[in-house]
Symmetry: C2
Subunit: 238 residues, 2 copies
């Protein structure tokens, strides 16, 4: 937790804010701060600054905070991601959020196990919670927009073009394709397939929406390794 | 498991090899192969090819295999990594290996918790096992060389220069530094600090060994996110 992310219900009035139990625990047990100390904070979906620890009464901590600057620039990259294995989804959402990705679609694919769509991990509040962890990690306040697309074809045919807007559309796919571009500033939309890859039909459907295949080395990477590696390659991180 | 990694004790003579229990399980339960099917295989620290499933008797599977080509090119990147949290170390080793990194030093740093050096995860056979998973993932056969450096200064002063050889030496560090290079083919040595970063003293010591600071965006990434992102940025993946 590199940032105290403050939400409206924590606002006590004027510049006074009450830390959540989890935040208070972190301030006391990990950061080991005392009254008078400072710690970085930001308002959820808002600006950032320094919180001054005003009072500590057992686990109740009040801070003084006001916005001093904006949250960091978003990454100019959106991700169309075949729904990962449930145990990996949480970690991928933290990573994607900490890297500054602000638009994520989780989409079905032929090689996505049907059971993945039934997992309790897909509950909105759990996904939300993981993205909050990514914001706290990277010191950001702006939550990504997350869309679930449990049917591949309707989403790709009817919604993908509008969602991807005027972005450069890139598909990482093994084969004899142009090498992956680098140091882009965006907007870029990146499609990442499931373990085992997109099917030929899916590649063709994405191709019709302007997604062009690029090669990214010959090694087979897990999705959770490929995502940050592709982001590091494609984008000039702000 | 995208590759059956065969070791000498599995060799039955001529082109015949016996799968391990774990491999047999994977072939039967995940790949659902039968006699006559084919699957990619490679000899540990050796060449690669296709294994033909010769016989299945309960969980005992014999395959015919001979080397047809070399293992994939290594990545021209070595990593000097501050020892990560134990639960992350396993994952980082899998990632680093699957990305093709062949030289890893795990080093102490001021901000590495002393207890990390006492963890059972540092047992050689466990580290070895995680790197094998990385090889199976990426279809590679060549194990990275892993060195433990529990004392920062003696390693950096006496051994680092020889270990890093004629490589370009790069340090990812937040601040007003030149932007991180990209698409290198190597040799490169990359130093990645602990959560919280290297101390000024450590930066200075690494600087004396030719490590130059480069910035990689303003976001604070977890080490397990930063490693693949930096590899994707720095290297032209073969």
């Amino acid at each position: 937790m590199n940032l105290l992310l403050l939400t409206p219900e924590q606002h006590l009035g004027n510049d006074r804010w009450l830390l959540s139990d989890r935040q208070a625990n972190h301030v006391l047990k990990v950061l080991k701060l005392i009254e008078g100390d400072q710690v970085r904070a930001g308002i959820f979906q808002g600006g950032m600054g320094i919180a001054h620890i005003e009072s500590i009464n057992n686990n109740r901590i009040e801070v003084l905070f006001k916005v001093e600057h904006q949250s960091p620039s978003p990454l100019g990259l959106s991700v169309l991601l075949a729904l990962p294995r449930p145990k990996m989804l949480k970690r991928i959402l933290i990573d994607a959020t900490s890297l500054g990705i602000k638009q994520i679609v989780l989409i079905n694919s032929w090689k996505v196990d049907k059971s993945y769509w039934q997992t309790p991990n897909l509950k909105a509040e759990l996904l939300h919670e993981k993205m909050l962890l990514g914001l706290e990690q990277a010191r950001d306040t702006t939550l990504p927009t997350l869309t679930l697309a449990p049917r591949f074809r309707p989403f790709v045919e009817d919604e993908l073009d509008g969602w991807a807007g005027n972005s450069q559309r890139i598909l990482a796919h093994p084969g004899n394709y142009p090498v992956m571009p680098h140091s882009l500033t965006g907007p870029v939309t990146l499609a990442i397939g499931p373990e085992g890859g997109w099917t030929d039909y899916e590649i063709e459907m994405l191709g019709k929406q302007g997604f062009q295949c690029h090669s990214f080395g010959s090694r087979i990477l897990r999705v959770e390794t490929a995502l940050p590696a592709l982001v590091g390659r494609l984008m000039q991180l702000p």
